[in-house]
């Protein structure tokens, strides 16, 4: 008799690295640095996002910056700096160049915001910045909407990774347009696709993975949970479940009911009229 045992999903490659976790996690909004550390560790994530912000004068080593960076480095996982707060290609490009110097990585999560209310990415500036950064030797992880044509333009300029949003950053609304995400997946079977932003519940992450996405990037859903560490564990399991489900192949939907219990030998058999 064959014994079936649930196994962890296999490895995948992104940005030239081979990883086993498909969960990318943010480092912001946690109740405390210790809580952040515990949550990131239990999530199993092997990529953590970070940012750059203005540094107060005097004693850089003691105030925030390097303390935080030392904690992150101690995790021994990949760091993905972002260009959050950029409103133009120029700002994003210069933030990326600064991040490469500080964090010592050519990975950049490219964010160019086009609207302050819903933090929707500016597709024109994002494509412009992506083209420049790729020529500068960056591995660009572009945060984009679920618009297929924008995804095409990003691929045209050389992006190997696309990160369409599930919904607005920090909204927790989940996948607003699963059909759009499916279209991007079908159009780009060879690119690494990560749903970034809008994930609120573990089931949202599972859904994204079931669509065939390669990974999920989230922050608020874990950091703003009542128990971030437990939620990080929940997302670890959810992402694995979604990937396993995708690999196993989901059954075809049917328009009508179909009994799972055999009909042959049904007792007290009768036909509805």
């Amino acid at each position: 008799m064959t014994k079936h045992i649930a196994t962890k999903t296999d490895t995948w490659e992104i940005g030239g690295k081979t990883l086993s976790s498909r969960l990318l996690i943010g480092s912001a909004l946690y109740p405390s640095p210790a809580n952040m550390e515990d949550a990131i560790k239990i999530s199993g994530a092997q990529i953590v996002t970070v940012a750059l912000r203005r540094q107060a004068a005097g004693n850089t080593d003691a105030k925030g910056g390097n303390d935080f960076w030392d904690i992150i480095k101690s995790f021994g996982i990949e760091v993905l700096p972002n260009t959050a707060g950029s409103h133009s290609a120029k700002e994003a490009i210069n933030t990326a160049l600064m991040a490469r110097e500080v964090f010592g990585t050519n990975w950049i999560k490219l964010e160019v915001i086009g609207d302050q209310y819903n933090l929707q990415p500016d597709p024109f500036e994002t494509v412009k910045a992506a083209e420049v950064l790729i020529k500068e030797g960056f591995e660009v992880f572009p945060y984009t909407t679920d618009d297929l044509v924008v995804a095409k333009r990003l691929a045209d300029v050389g992006c190997k990774i696309l990160m369409p949003w599930g919904s607005m950053i920090g909204s927790g609304k989940g996948l607003m347009n699963p059909d759009n995400l499916i279209a991007i997946r079908k159009q780009f079977p060879d690119l690494q696709l990560v749903v970034d932003a809008g994930i609120g519940k573990p089931s949202h992450a599972t859904q994204a993975m079931e669509l065939g996405y390669d990974g999920v990037l989230l922050n608020s859903a874990i950091a703003l949970a009542q128990d971030p560490v437990k939620m990080a564990d929940a997302f670890r399991v959810a992402v694995e479940a979604g990937r396993l489900g995708y690999e196993a192949g989901v059954m075809q939907e049917r328009e009508f009911a179909s009994p799972s219990t055999p009909t042959v030998g049904t007792p007290f058999w009768h036909q509805f009229t």
């Binding site: 750059l52 850089t60 080593d61 960076w69 500080v102």
Partner: protein, 67 residues
């Protein structure tokens, strides 16, 4: 003295300083930051050959939490 803007705040530094000297004059210590002059990144390797002039704007950024 010249007047410059550092991270959005006006301040003064001696005239004729390069970026490395300006950073020191502004009391930024350690290595964990990056700098932009008038919106353009300045690599550490070019600090000594890049001069800071009157009304220049400097951004000095360091690692923080991010999503």
């Amino acid at each position: 003295m010249i007047e410059i803007i550092v991270n959005g705040t006006r301040t003064t530094i001696p005239n004729g300083l390069n970026v490395k000297e300006a950073v020191s004059a502004l009391e930024y210590k350690g290595k964990g930051f990056a700098l932009a002059l008038n919106g353009t990144f300045v690599a550490v390797a070019t600090y000594e050959t890049t001069m800071v002039r009157d009304n220049d704007s400097i951004e000095i950024l360091a690692p923080v939490q991010g999503g």
